[in-house]
């Protein structure tokens, strides 16, 4: 179980997160929703170790993540799919996938097969440079790359950003599919409607604070959430 307890994060003197607490149980899809600048991405980056909290504690099972470097956190199986995809543009699709399996010493051929069955497009384009893929394909590659690392927890940052509606649907279905295979997912999304539909539980973040939590269904039907994030 991934547990965030009362973390404070600062950018210089600006306090970006205020006593944020949340937990993600094994096998769940948990989503963080909120407006621009609310601190969703900051929360993810703090979990993956890219930013250090000034206060509070993040634990994964018995490990204290607050004391670990990003690559050590990744080696525990907590893998981030960063915002804006960040594929390795001058490397081929295949090389990107191999990079995803960078920490693994075991046989990766099964996972490669699985990833290609989730995203057949990537199989067709495995020799192509990742920078030449379309936005949607790059997002698929970013997710596939993280899957190659055999994640226990996958931190997904805005997977629907800049994608056509049909592709968004596609990506969310795939996220559910991945979750069914036993990967715990923490999803940050601006597309609150889609995120809440697939999430078991959700947190609402406003200006650096968790202001609400509940099951996906509860929040979908909550008046305040409807008004602020679901457009009506």
């Amino acid at each position: 179980m991934l547990k965030v307890e009362g973390i404070d994060v600062y950018y210089g003197v600006i306090r970006a997160l205020k006593e944020v607490s949340l937990s993600v149980n094994d096998g769940e899809i948990v989503t963080l929703i909120g407006a621009n600048g609310a601190g969703k991405t900051t929360t993810l980056k703090t979990i993956s170790g890219l930013i250090r909290p000034r206060k509070g504690k993040i634990t994964f099972n018995d490990y204290d993540l607050t004391k670990m470097a990003p690559h050590e956190i990744a080696s525990l199986g907590i893998l981030q799919v960063p915002e804006g995809r960040r594929v390795f543009g001058n490397l081929t699709v295949m090389e990107n996938l191999l990079m995803g399996a960078y920490l693994r010493k075991d046989d990766i051929s099964k996972d490669l097969e699985w990833v290609f069955s989730l995203f057949p497009r990537l199989k067709e384009r495995q020799k192509q440079k990742a920078g030449t893929l379309s936005g949607g394909e790059q997002q698929m590659l970013a997710i596939a790359r993280a899957l190659m690392g055999k994640p226990r927890v996958m931190l997904l940052d805005e997977p629907s950003l800049g994608l056509a509606p049909l592709l968004v649907l596609n990506i969310f279905e795939t996220i559910q599919e991945i979750n069914k295979q036993g990967v715990t997912i923490l999803l940050v999304e601006q597309n609150a409607y889609m995120a809440l539909q697939i999430a078991h539980r959700a947190y609402v973040i406003e200006t650096g604070r968790v202001v609400m939590e509940g099951t996906g269904r509860e929040l979908l039907n909550n008046e305040a959430v409807k008004k602020a994030y679901l457009g009506g």
């Binding site: 890219l50 960040r86 990079m99 960078y102 920490l103």
Partner: protein
């Protein structure tokens, strides 16, 4: 992949045989041409090693002349004072340069882009100033009397080693990790790559070979002076790798040879244009500008630096 592995060793052995044969013929060649061939080899070592830092790992280093100076001075010091065998002295020079690379890399590799360039430039200058004041290696008077050990054989043996080791590095999982740092440091970290360690590794790798190249250079010229290792020397190497195509090992090696020969060829320009003013460096610069305009990705096409969103 399997074939490639085998090919690499065949290439290596084949290369050794050629080096050996050419080494026999060479003394009968015009000494001027011979010198150009030696410098071309040394420049290949410098360019290919800087390419590992700048082209593969994407860390902008301007300190190559400094590492070269360390290797040149230390190996000469060993052969001159202690009669250390040449190969050992070369390796020792490389190792000391590598150690300095480690010492400089640990604090400076946190810096990115332009900041790292300035820091490494400063490091190179510090080394030069220290050498200026180091009396045991002649200080500002220079260091004469270095034994002439550098031969075609040694230079091109090192060239083979630097080519094969860089190429092996590039094709290894570690090499892919290094490339991923160049492509996107944050994503690379998210994949579990210890980016600091690999950046330092690339830095040491480059520094080591630059030190060896310095040793070769010193034992060819038989005289060293700190003023040979200004940052212009680093820029010279940088031009080679940018022209050859950042990240492309073969491109960088070819461009190193090309840029060694070109200024020599241009000596004929003076005769050709029948002038008293030497237009050599003007044409040289124009050619550089032209190549960059026509082939911004370098001769053999390396990677293109992408425009960063942030």
């Amino acid at each position: 992949m399997e074939n490639l592995e085998r090919f690499r060793y065949i290439f290596f052995i084949f290369g050794l045989v050629i080096i050996y044969l050419v080494n026999i013929i060479l003394p009968y060649i015009n000494p001027y041409y011979f010198q150009i061939i030696i410098f071309a080899g040394i420049n290949i070592v410098l360019a290919v090693s800087l390419n590992v830092i700048n082209g593969l790992c994407g860390q902008f280093s301007l300190g190559h002349a400094g590492f070269m100076a360390v290797g040149a001075y230390f190996s000469s010091f060993l052969t001159f004072y202690y009669k250390v065998p040449f190969p050992l002295a070369l390796i020792a020079g490389g190792v000391l340069a590598g150690l300095i690379g480690l010492g400089v890399g640990v604090p400076t590799l946190r810096l990115r882009g332009d900041y790292l360039a300035i820091a490494t430039l400063g490091m190179g200058e510090i080394i030069r100033v220290i050498l200026f004041n180091l009396d045991i290696v002649g200080g500002a008077r220079g260091f004469p009397g270095i034994p002439k050990y550098t031969s075609f054989f040694w230079v091109y043996l090192v060239v083979m080693f630097v080519l094969v080791s860089s190429y092996s590095l590039l094709k290894s999982p570690q090499g892919r990790a290094i490339l991923s740092i160049r492509e996107d440091e944050i994503a690379s970290e998210a994949m579990g790559v210890n980016t600091t360690r690999f950046k330092i590794f690339a830095f040491i790798f480059g520094a080591f070979w630059a030190g060896v190249a310095g040793g070769l250079w010193a034992h060819y010229l038989q005289f060293l002076h700190p003023s040979s290792f200004t940052f212009m020397k680093s820029v010279e190497v940088l031009v080679m790798i940018v022209l050859g195509g950042l990240g492309s090992i073969s491109g960088v090696a070819i461009s190193a040879v090309f840029l060694t020969i070109l200024p020599e060829l241009l000596r004929y320009a003076k005769v050709l244009f029948n002038t008293t003013v030497d237009p050599r460096m003007v044409i040289y610069s124009l050619l550089l500008i032209l190549t960059m305009l026509l082939r911004p990705q370098g001769l053999l096409g390396g990677y293109r630096r992408k425009v960063k969103e942030q």
